[in-house]
């Protein structure tokens, strides 16, 4: 997570440098009275690199996907309550199909 964040910061810094280079380039163009047709090739490379790094950070930083299947290993809620007074048996389980896989941790 921290690595992803560092990558993102690096990407943003590279993009900022690309913006700065573009400003310099366009100022130069204005001085020589030329039209801005496109940025210099190194700016394009910087933007591409910044895009790739930021894409990586965008996918890595916000967190992992958690499984939504109720019978996946991380979602099992199989636990016998230690307190015998509060066991509940009258729940929605009877609405589910009869076939079940008995899996316990």
């Amino acid at each position: 997570m921290a690595v992803g964040f560092a990558v993102g910061v690096l990407g943003v810094l590279i993009l900022s440098h690309a913006a700065y280079s573009t400003i310099q380039y366009r100022t130069l163009l204005k001085i020589t009275e030329e039209e801005f047709s496109g940025p210099p090739i190194n700016v394009v490379f910087e933007l591409l690199l910044g895009l790739v790094l930021c894409m990586w950070a965008a996918l890595a930083v916000p967190g992992k996907f958690q499984s939504i299947q109720l019978d996946s290993d991380e979602n099992r809620v199989v636990s016998l309550p230690s307190n015998l007074d509060f066991m509940i048996f009258n729940h929605r389980g009877k609405a589910f199909p009869l076939e079940c896989t008995l899996k316990s941790k």
Binding site: G8, G11, L15, A18, A19, T22, I23, R26, T27, K30, I31, F36, G38, P39, V43, V44, L47, G50, L51, C54, M55, A57, A58, L59, V61, P62, G63, K64, F65, Q66, S67, I68, Q69, L70, S72, N75, K94, A95, F96, P97, L98, E99
Partner: protein
């Protein structure tokens, strides 16, 4: 027969007779949040890049769609290409946050395009004043 529970022919009943689509809702919403953050950040970056490159009009829209498409592919890869263990439909990963992201992208694009143009103008004026 007891209410809500049908015992007749229990030995013949298959799991596919009941097709109750159930999933962990809080995990689903947490996954949606992850997608939202990823998309919003990439919309910002897309807007910044489009502004720096000076992509106006149709080019800008095409660029935004491209960035969003790549983001969708990235999200799909992050989910290990098995979408149904993390989401209830493909639309989540493809469409969600698309329009809101467009607004963010356009804002950042405008910001950077005009910001760069204004800075260049100011520097030019300064340069003229000095020389």
């Amino acid at each position: 027969a007891m209410a809500g529970h049908d015992d007749s022919g229990a030995s013949e009943k298959k799991a596919s007779d009941f097709d109750i689509p159930t999933f962990s809702n809080e995990n689903m919403q947490s996954n949606m949040k992850v997608i939202y953050y990823s998309r919003t950040f990439m919309s910002i970056i897309g807007g910044v890049i489009a502004g720096i490159l000076g992509f106006t009009g149709l080019m800008g829209f095409i660029f935004y769609f491209l960035v969003m498409a790549i983001t969708s592919i990235g999200l799909t890869a992050k989910a290990g290409f098995s979408i149904h263990s993390y989401f209830d439909s493909w639309n989540r990963i493809i469409l969600d946050g698309f329009l809101g992201g467009l607004l963010v992208c356009c804002s950042l694009f405008k910001l950077f395009l005009t910001g760069i143009a204004v800075t260049v103008l100011n520097l030019h004026v300064q340069h003229i004043n000095l020389s």
